[in-house]
Symmetry: C2
Subunit: 129 residues, 2 copies
Amino acid sequence: MKDFLSPGQVVERSGFSLDTLRYYERIGLLDRIERGPGGRRRYADEDLEWLGVLRCLRDTGMPIAQMRRYAELARAGDSTIAERMALLVEHDEQVERTVADLRSQQSHLKEKISWYRTQLPGPQAASER
Amino acid sequence: MKDFLSPGQVVERSGFSLDTLRYYERIGLLDRIERGPGGRRRYADEDLEWLGVLRCLRDTGMPIAQMRRYAELARAGDSTIAERMALLVEHDEQVERTVADLRSQQSHLKEKISWYRTQLPGPQAASER
DNA sequence: CAAGCACCTGGAGTCCGGTCCAGGTCAAGG
DNA sequence: CCTTGACCTGGACCGGACTCCAGGTGCTTG
């Protein structure tokens, strides 16, 4: 007893828009989704799972080209496990760098903020901007 | 004895491209830069400092529209200090959310990676992708 | 003096990641 | 029977942030 999901349900559960779902399918991020009678898409549970993976990759800033590569590897079967892992590991490192960078710039930001804070209480003018 | 910087020097020290510098000036992120004889730009030290601020904001993901708002406030003088600070504080919170989000998705990523790791040593096939 | 180089301008083009639209189909409900 | 709502397609369009280009100017260096 397979239970399929309608496009609308997938929108709800995946958080991707209908257009984005179709777009991802077109560009090969999703396998061609099965169709019911009438040509409407019926998503399987695995599709939804895969969408979860895509969300994770997307939200950590992986460019679509790389996601496509990953999808391709995934389609290619178990022989590509090592490569897929390598890809994710590299991406994880990328995320790490991104976060470090953000943190480092954020510290400047905070400095700036505390400088502003010193300028506030007394309405005395200062020169820096 | 003012020392000015040539566009090339600013490229080096700011890390922004020549085109980007001109672009930022056009759209009002930089004050109109002073010109030397022959019409070439001469950047002052304060310009470079300001570019540092822009870099910080840009690298923490602030959209250009918001940077422009900040630049405008900065141009408007000391009366806008409170507002500028508020803007930065809000942005800082935004950065915080971004980092939290990245971290949270990154944890899924790491799970995925360790799952792959279990699949590697023995070349036994499995089903998930 | 000629060539090279750094720089100038206005405007067009690029890339990314979607989003929107017009026009059509189908199933179910009033 | 007719409408409504969810869905379909191919293709055009968008916003953001640059980046590139053609054609021109002007110091400076061999």
